[in-house]
């Protein structure tokens, strides 16, 4: 497979998003300011940045849930049968009125796949996320970690061109988070067809370095790309080994220095005191 510029899976060109203030008097907010980058096929990209930096906006534009003010974002479509993207949402987005099975099969049902095929795919992903016993359970019977597993399974089962994830594990406790990150990598690496291109938004550097092939750091508003780093850590990765590896430390420090500047800038612009730690 060639990885020329034309082969990019996602092309972001001069993307700008301005939110008009809700009240007439309030100033418009520039969430994304002239952003340009490309994501090659099969890359796991993490977008990090201070909270409210427009990274979720970037993801929502990619997902087609928000429209850009100017510029463009193009996802290359290789198979017209496939959906362009599927998203794993921030908080619990599992539909409470559907069983686990119906939730996982939601995208397949919307696309009108044959029943038998839907059932096969749902059973396979039910097993992949370890919820075979809970197929007929309703979300209120599940823990937070199990719900996010359903959400991940729903996105993967849909077999999209690209996967989008908006801080999917942010609300989970530390143990569950690590468990689910590992599972996510296992499913992503063990993908049947091809390795999926992933855009993953997070505010956690640890998470980004554990998961990603590449990390993009965004600035505080107006959101721009501040840093673009390749994460050249070998896979499969193990959290414990990773944390003690000098390469990890070097990458962490590089991104952290840049991130800290942005956080300070953001706090200052809001008139907050901030004691910078070094």
């Amino acid at each position: 497979m060639e990885t020329t510029v034309a082969q990019a899976k996602i092309r972001v060109d001069n993307l700008t998003k301005v939110f008009r203030g809700t009240k007439r008097a309030s100033d418009p907010v520039i969430a994304l300011d002239d952003i340009t980058f490309e994501v090659p096929d099969g890359q796991f990209l993490c977008v990090v940045g201070p909270s409210g930096c427009g990274k979720t906006t970037l993801l929502r534009i990619t997902a087609g849930l928000e429209t850009e003010t100017s510029g463009s974002l193009i996802i290359r479509c290789d198979d017209p049968e496939r959906p362009l993207n599927s998203m794993v949402f921030q908080e619990s987005s599992v539909l409470p009125w559907m069983t686990v099975r119906r939730n996982i099969g939601y995208g397949l049902r919307m696309r009108g796949l044959p029943r038998a095929q839907q059932r096969d795919i749902v059973e396979r992903f039910l097993k992949k996320v370890g919820l075979s016993k809970f197929g007929d359970a309703y979300p209120h019977q599940l823990s937070g970690g199990m719900k996010q597993r359903v959400s991940v399974a729903r996105a993967f089962a849909n077999d999209p061109e690209i996967l989008l994830m908006d801080e999917p594990f942010a609300a989970l406790d530390e143990q569950n988070k690590i468990l689910l990150q590992r599972e996510l990598l296992r499913i992503w690496e063990g993908s049947e067809t091809d390795t999926k291109t992933v855009v993953y938004v997070t505010h956690s550097l640890d998470e980004a370095l554990f998961l990603a092939d590449r990390v993009i750091l965004m600035t505080a508003l107006p959101g721009k790309v501040k840093l673009d780093v390749d994460v050249d850590l070998p896979r499969p990765r193990k959290i414990a080994e990773l944390r003690t590896s000098p390469r990890f430390t070097r990458l962490f420090r590089e991104i952290w220095e840049a991130l800290r500047e942005e956080v300070v800038k953001d706090k200052q612009s809001r008139g907050l005191d901030f004691v910078a730690e070094s």
Partner: protein, 267 residues
């Protein structure tokens, strides 16, 4: 462990007895009231013309029931209630889901709904009788209107209160307009829709009695009204008990249906 379990059951035992006692009391108390009523009429403390003793009412009930008159009144009243309930509920559901899903439709219709909702539907009965005649249609439309507003307002509120993230999920996973109705709006609003239907059912029973008092030749409301005119108050009491029974029965039926259709709702 064993002694702990023993202690626990000892602690719980009087509680259980208390529960049983309360159950028995709640069955006995209405019986006692009926007995008191009977005794007071028999001893002349209550006027038997206004408060016929329960035994006399029961005898009259038996008479009406065996002659088939009662079944006729009940049948026609229930038919009107069901027809009116469906005629009000079904359009209310469709319009309510649409208003909930599309802010533009909501902006257009909401002022009209808000303006017409407070009108007592009974006040429209003269108009209904003029427009639809004294046949079945006037009653069905009156009841339909009563149900319509209650189901409509609750459906709209139910859809509007659905977490926006579920709408994002539907959009992201390629839901069609129809899928938005069937997989998001309807199931998400169902708990509120049931609240609306229960209220609508209550209003239906209220309206049917009033409508039959004025413009009908049969039905429970007609029975109650004629009992006043010919001064046979036993019939009125029978009508009252029947309405209470149906009110209770329909509310319980809807609650049961809700449990079946909304299994995902946390109890």
């Amino acid at each position: 462990m064993v002694s702990l379990a023993n202690k626990l059951s000892q602690l719980l035992d009087p509680l259980k007895n208390e529960e049983q006692r309360n159950q028995i009391i709640s069955i006995l108390s209405p019986v006692a009231l009926l007995l008191l009523w009977e005794l007071m009429v028999r001893s002349g403390w209550l006027d038997a013309r206004f408060f016929p003793p329960p035994t006399v009412i029961a005898a009259r009930f038996w008479e009406l029931a065996t002659s088939g008159i009662l079944a006729e009144h009940i049948g026609i009243s229930l038919a009107r209630v069901f027809a009116g309930f469906l005629a009000g509920t079904i359009p209310a559901l469709l319009i309510g889901l649409t208003m909930g899903l599309f802010p533009l439709v909501r902006a257009i219709l909401e002022p009209m709904v808000a303006a017409t909702y407070p009108i007592p539907k009974l006040a429209l009965l003269p108009l209904m009788l003029l427009v639809f005649g004294s046949g079945e249609l006037s009653k069905v439309v009156t009841i339909g209107l009563g149900c319509f507003f209650l189901v409509l307002m609750n459906t709209v509120a139910g859809v509007v209160n659905i977490e926006p993230i579920y709408l994002d999920v539907a959009r992201n996973y390629g839901a069609s307009k129809r899928d938005f109705y069937t997989t998001i709006a309807l199931p998400g609003a169902l708990p509120m829709i049931f609240t609306g239907m229960k209220l609508g059912m209550g209003v239906s029973l209220l309206l049917i009695v009033a409508a039959e008092m004025i413009g009908a030749q049969n039905g429970i409301g007609y029975m109650i009204w004629t009992s006043y005119q010919i001064f046979v108050l036993e019939d009125m009491y029978i009508g009252l008990v029947l309405m209470a029974f149906f009110g209770y029965f329909f509310t319980m039926s809807l609650s049961y249906l809700e449990k079946v259709v909304v299994p995902w709702k946390q109890q």
